[in-house]
Symmetry: C2
Subunit: 644 residues, 2 copies
């Protein structure tokens, strides 16, 4: 065994000689964002050896200078002796870091209000099916000595008129003491069905009828967001988000599925999403709002089909293999205790139904909250998360497809990419002398760049003449912000480390630009192919809703300029935030919405892009800024012409 100490965490662990260094980092409980999951290609697990014998194969992700300074890729290294290793303070902590959101701000509020209005306008009601009742039971005597549960049942039958009453084991376990401590004055939380039966899911002392809480969770591949809701009035009590702790096992669903098939990989992924992501988020929310987990009696979650499988711990590998079959799209209700989610153990877990292997519950929920299902206008819904999903339609029909956009929109596979959280550059301008100005989420110090920032950056670089329309960096520009490494790969420095006291410069490389171009091309060609499939073109679009983790500051004009979105009237394009979380929220609040959601998931027609012959051509044509055929982007053409 050898001892490895990790700075600045001051954490020491013992591992076998010969252990992979990235595995050692994970065993030490230190989070590193490793999109390629140890294959040595993403370059994100860069660490600095302070002392000790660590054997490392070289990597094109390590420059000569870095090599001299002791930098190696942890995933490409094995430990040969006791050692001290420094882990750079990059975005990784903030990548996973938790953020309690203040939604007193108008933007978040407006988005919620808009979703609520969609439901109410369509004639649905906020009718969740969870009820609370305050009961005063007759205490037992020698003459009235029926069991506690029979006493409760008798009272409920008489007072509330239910034929039969059920309860789970956890209720039975706490009932005898609780009844007596409460002097037989209790509040039950129960879920009645239409047939005169009801199921008790919680029991509290005294009158607690005014407290009724639920939790909605959006399980994104990169980011997870949760909100605590007062089920009486629909008020949001707290909202929090963090990185998905599964990121350490791969950046996208394909890498995660691959990891899940190895050893106890599936268990680890399930543990990562529930124990390392959702429960910590909930604990933060509870601490903040002074609410106990036992009081939370409703839970709705949505994720893409793979996330849904991993959330339940269900084998997901056949999603990835032709003919791409999920184990389920819709599951029967299960109890929170079965998944060990930190809410009341009897809470029914509702997982939003998926449509197909690559159009998940997050899209069903997004369509619900967008309101497109009761619109007579043609609406294009685009979810820009770790993948890109597109739905087109109206109250008559809904068509969907999934684009292999990869994780670039949430900062994945971008050297300084990060999700839209504290420390992320979200808006960028570049002046004529190639110098940038930018704004950072939550603080001064730029730790990395999120999706909206990358769009701005690429767009500005193009218009400033730093990159050409292929995304290649122009040589011999008169600026120290542009440089080329020994392999000839160019990069643009957005922020010098000296200026902000960082461990590294915040840069964008030609490789990053190329990755991002392919991501945006996947979206654009997806839209084109889906419309062609319906024999339509962009003129048919009455409205575009953009949803997802790309960031609140998404610049619509720039998104068009780089050719991600079609060049239509930009007043028709609107960012609607985390529509999946909104859909979960609506489902929490309304049984009507839940039924509608199931209808939506059932009715969406899935178009498999990989079998559409034209898709590949469309994609290749779109791998340009904004497009190989500039005439498809008349307003951008005009701008480019004028900027030359």
């Amino acid at each position: 065994m050898v001892k490895i100490k990790f700075n600045p965490y001051n954490r020491e662990i013992e591992v076998l000689q010969g252990e992979n260094l990235l595995e050692a980092v994970r065993k030490a409980g230190i989070f590193m964002d490793t999109p390629c999951n140890g294959s040595g290609t993403c370059g994100k697990c860069k660490v600095k050896v302070i002392n000790g014998d660590i054997i490392s194969t070289g990597s094109k992700n390590i420059t000569e200078e870095e090599k001299k300074n002791g930098y190696i890729l942890a995933c490409q290294s094995t430990v040969n002796s006791d050692a001290v290793v420094e882990i750079p303070e990059t975005d990784s902590s903030s990548m996973h870091g938790m953020k309690i959101e203040d939604f007193s701000g108008s933007r978040e509020k407006n988005i919620f209000q808009r979703s609520r209005d969609q439901i109410l306008k369509s004639g649905m009601k906020f009718n969740n099916n969870i009820k609370k009742e305050y009961l005063e039971l007759d205490p037992p005597t020698l003459n009235d000595n029926i069991s506690d549960f029979e006493r409760l049942r008798r009272h409920i039958k008489k007072q509330l008129n239910y034929d039969d009453v059920f309860c789970g084991l956890t209720i039975l376990k706490k009932m005898p003491q609780l009844l007596r401590e409460a002097d037989f004055k209790i509040t039950i939380t129960h879920i009645p069905d239409e047939k005169g039966k009801t199921v008790i899911i919680n029991m509290e002392k005294g009158d607690r009828t005014d407290q009724l809480y639920g939790v909605a969770v959006d399980i994104g591949t990169t980011s997870v967001a949760a909100c605590l809701v007062d089920l009486h009035n629909g008020e949001l009590i707290a909202k929090a988000s963090s990185g998905n702790a599964q990121m350490k096992y791969g950046a996208d669903v394909i890498n995660r599925i691959m990891y899940s098939t190895r050893g106890n990989g599936l268990e680890k992924l399930n543990h990562a999403i529930i124990q390392e992501t959702i429960n910590p988020l909930l604990n933060r929310i509870y601490a903040d709002s002074k609410i106990e987990s036992d009081e939370v009696v409703s839970f709705v979650a949505a994720g893409n089909t793979t996330m849904s499988h991993l959330f339940l711990g269900v084998y997901a590998n056949f999603i990835r293999q032709e003919p791409y079959i999920p184990a389920f799209v819709k599951i029967p209700l299960i109890k929170a205790s079965e998944l060990d989610i930190k809410v009341n153990p009897e809470t029914p877990v509702y997982l939003v139904p998926s449509v197909a292997s690559y159009v998940g519950g997050d899209i069903s929920a997004g369509v619900l909250s967008s309101g497109m299902w009761h619109s007579d206008k043609n609406i294009l819904f685009i979810d820009l998360g770790t993948n890109g999903e597109i739905v087109f339609g109206n109250s008559e029909y809904l068509m969907a497809c999934a684009c292999s956009a990869g994780p670039a929109f949430e900062g994945g596979e971008i050297s300084c990419g990060m999700r839209a959280s504290s420390g992320a550059v979200e808006k960028v301008k570049i002046d004529s002398s190639y110098n940038p100005t930018f704004s950072v989420i939550g603080q001064e110090k730029p730790l990395g760049i999120c999706g909206s920032g990358i769009i701005d950056l690429i767009c500005e670089m193009m218009f400033a003449g730093i990159i050409d329309r292929k995304g290649k960096i122009i040589k011999d520009l008169n600026t120290d912000r542009v440089r080329f490494d020994e392999h000839g790969i160019g990069q643009y420095v957005l922020a010098f480390k000296e200026q902000y006291d960082l461990d590294r410069d915040v840069v964008i490389t030609e490789v990053d630009v190329d990755n991002f171009i392919r991501a945006k091309a996947a979206i654009y060609s997806g839209i084109t192919t889906l419309l062609n499939n319906l024999s339509m073109d962009f003129t048919a679009i009455d409205k575009i809703y953009i949803a997802g983790g790309i960031g609140n500051s998404l610049d619509i004009a720039n998104s068009v300029k780089i050719g991600m979105l079609p060049d239509i009237d930009q007043n028709k394009i609107q960012y609607i935030g985390n529509s999946s979380l909104m859909g979960c929220y609506l489902t929490l609040m309304s049984e009507d919405a839940k039924h509608k959601l199931e209808e939506i998931a059932n009715s969406i027609t899935y178009v498999e892009l990989s079998v559409e012959s034209e898709y590949m051509n469309e994609f290749v044509s779109a791998c340009f800024l904004p497009h190989t055929d500039i005439d498809k982007f008349p307003t951008v053409k005009k701008c480019l012409d004028s900027s030359v």
Copy 2:
């Protein structure tokens, strides 16, 4: 810390100086039967100090000679240094020891046959509600790419005509791989309801429709018995029994309940019954019968009300406190996985409903299997287990009471008492020179005496003139088998240790006889009081069924002679074995029987003896051999007269 080594187990543990020695024995994982649970009264935790400093308070249960030889009571001792302690090889291992029963023998078979006949004669059917179906699904293709679960649902809907299909999480988890490994040819096990729904509880590869198994368990306070049943034909595949591992926490329900209220006592008791008793029994059965736990898809258990609470881990203390209220008498179905029982995790656990705090599910099940519920004759049902419960009635009415008989019938609170398992003396004769002959269950060497043996022994001692009618040992008899300790307490030696190479003599003391007389008096006075309550006497009894753990060799005549059973025509009295287990077996096999069982539990009228003023008088009068009023036992009187 000090080290304690236990012989002959060769087990060593470290404990804090000052630790109680009985606690140290438990921590070392060694089972000792301690009915009084450490209060120093039962004298069962006798151990021998080989070396080391162990501080012990004296005890009347340790003779001067034993003291000289280093014997102490573990519960009354604390450890002061490293030590070596010998634990006598008494009944304790066999008390808990597991026994796989061979029921090819006629007795066991007859008892089963009788119970089955009761059900069938009453017009019920063997119609258990668990079905198996072999299905050949169409494998998925790119054109038929619905999810695995939808595919299954579609097939079941079409082929079996169920409107809706549900399944639990464990099924969902194994489905994707299982379907493909099985080439989509599978067998499902499911439970349909009447409304066109069905719930899948197991899934296997290929055609397994011929394999359908269930388990029935009788959870006695002292003994636990389990049997594995072929649900297709009702055949018993294996049966096993063992001591209830909860015994280390107290011999009777009151001591167990008291233990359950301390610290994590409830958890420990729940662990003892499920993890240390039921699951090991099932593992033995599975190993013996080459059946996997996953194939067992039905589970029925019965126990007294306290055992039922502890089995579920439900707080039981209010059973013990006036007004004696159980938390429940009937529970909704729960899943085996919720209790961690070693059967298929989706298996519904059916716990037989209780009647009241002191008439449990074991009695409901016993009444079912006795058939008294459809008899027009008056039947007296007596369960002689750790407690004694009595039910009287017929198809018109059923009255029940519980007698505080204590654990004596199963060997509890008797110095050499043990349950009716291997090594127990089950039958005894004593000749005119005070020498005994006896038979031992399963082997030659007598380790202790079980209930039926104690009845014989006391009866024979009375007729041989060793004890008087108060149970006191006659002095100055011409035999070395009778002796008195320094406190003047007499004892009779049934087996000298030298003769059988034992660690101690097998004896019965005056204290034991006294304990047993109180137990048998509780039964007799219970019968009298119950009949008086109905303004009836013994002439109203058409039949007596004796059930319970007292032992297969129960001698009816001797039971009457000592005054446990009324002096009626002995042809009317029949031993029917473990009627609780039989009732569970019938419930496994028949939904009709299950409905009848619930009817029985609902319809039994419970008579609380402690509030019947005459009960105490009846009890005191019965604390004689056979009774203070010998005229109540005319045939015994005749025998006694002739033996004088």
